[in-house]
Symmetry: C2
Subunit: 206 residues, 2 copies
């Protein structure tokens, strides 16, 4: 691709580094920004930079947060004795959008996937175990994608918790096998939270 402007070329290259954005899409975005006022583009770029500089991970649940402890964890009207284990932040957003869950979360930051080189030590599993030992919640809900990797992660954590007295459940298999949690519609996701199953019965059906 030829550019008569180095400024535009650099901006296109920056956008094209992002997932799912090729050079043509990047160019469209840059030309869109050129049409906006410099003030609007400054707002865009400052918002992004400020976000990255200010973003924290909640010290309790590993969710993204503006503060040391996230809004969800510091909300005392939420049930402190239920922890929902999710793969990533998008899953928190998806579950919160159902408005059917009123407990806390624990964001693993991924799932166990040896083929991708992701082992338990790369994930927030140790912090989950420590948190459970300290906070002694009544229930742990696994809301992981129904894949081999998701099941492996559940199995691994379940084994780690075998000496701890805690109810362990998973969201119901309302989500299509091989599907992506974050793309489920809100009703399906809400139902699968309501109809959650003991993890043993879930494992037996695989």
């Amino acid at each position: 691709m030829f550019f008569s402007s180095t400024l535009v070329e650099n901006a296109v290259n920056e956008f094209a580094k992002m997932p799912g954005i090729g050079k043509k899409t990047a160019l469209r975005l840059v030309l869109h920004l050129i049409k906006q006022s410099p003030e609007e583009v400054n707002l865009f770029s400052e918002t992004i930079a400020k976000m990255r500089a200010g973003i924290k991970f909640c010290s309790r649940c590993n969710n993204i947060s503006d503060k040391e402890v996230c809004n969800i964890c510091s909300n005392t009207s939420r049930k402190q004795e239920i922890i929902c284990v999710v793969e990533n932040i998008r899953d928190v957003i998806a579950i919160e959008s159902t408005q059917q869950y009123n407990g806390l979360y624990h964001v693993l930051g991924g799932i166990i996937s040896p083929l991708d080189g992701v082992g338990p030590e790369q994930l927030a599993i140790e912090s989950l175990i420590n948190r459970i030992e300290k906070e002694k919640p009544e229930e742990l809900i696994f809301a992981l994608n129904p894949t081999i990797q998701g099941d492996t992660t559940i199995y691994y954590i379940q084994k780690k918790l075998k000496d701890i007295n805690i109810k362990i459940t998973t969201i119901a298999r309302g989500i299509a096998f091989g599907g992506e949690l974050e793309y489920a519609d809100e009703l399906t996701l809400a139902r699968s939270l309501q109809n959650r199953l003991p993890v043993d019965s879930y494992m037996n059906t695989r």
Copy 2:
């Protein structure tokens, strides 16, 4: 969509203002940026802001440029006596990518489209006429999309130039009717430049 972080919410909203980017895509981009180092994200945001602050429109051809006059216009090895009229900057990039054209450009900034409220006065048509009177080029090549609006624009400019001695051509109809110039493959686009036709014969075939 629920966010546990205002910083992330603001960043998502900024991305979602862009064409073709919905909230879910915006979130993906923001989460991608969170995974990058603050330095990388600063580079991203500074490149964008610098681009918008520094970008100019070439005083000669209306193309985007880092300087008062763009790289193409100031390149003396290019044929100064041929001007290719295009709708927008993406078309300049598409034609330059064929490496088959060695003349100059004139970027109209759109095409005449009364239904969209775009008349000749919103476009760089007067500057084109003035430029032709001043520079006296030998040939004017129209490289506009083969649509009603494109034809109307050609017709309007052609009429304005009726007293001026200049060869007026259009790129050949190699491009599918109703197609988009910027998505044409380089070979088709290169051929249609080589086989350009006198504008009168083109108009008679419509």
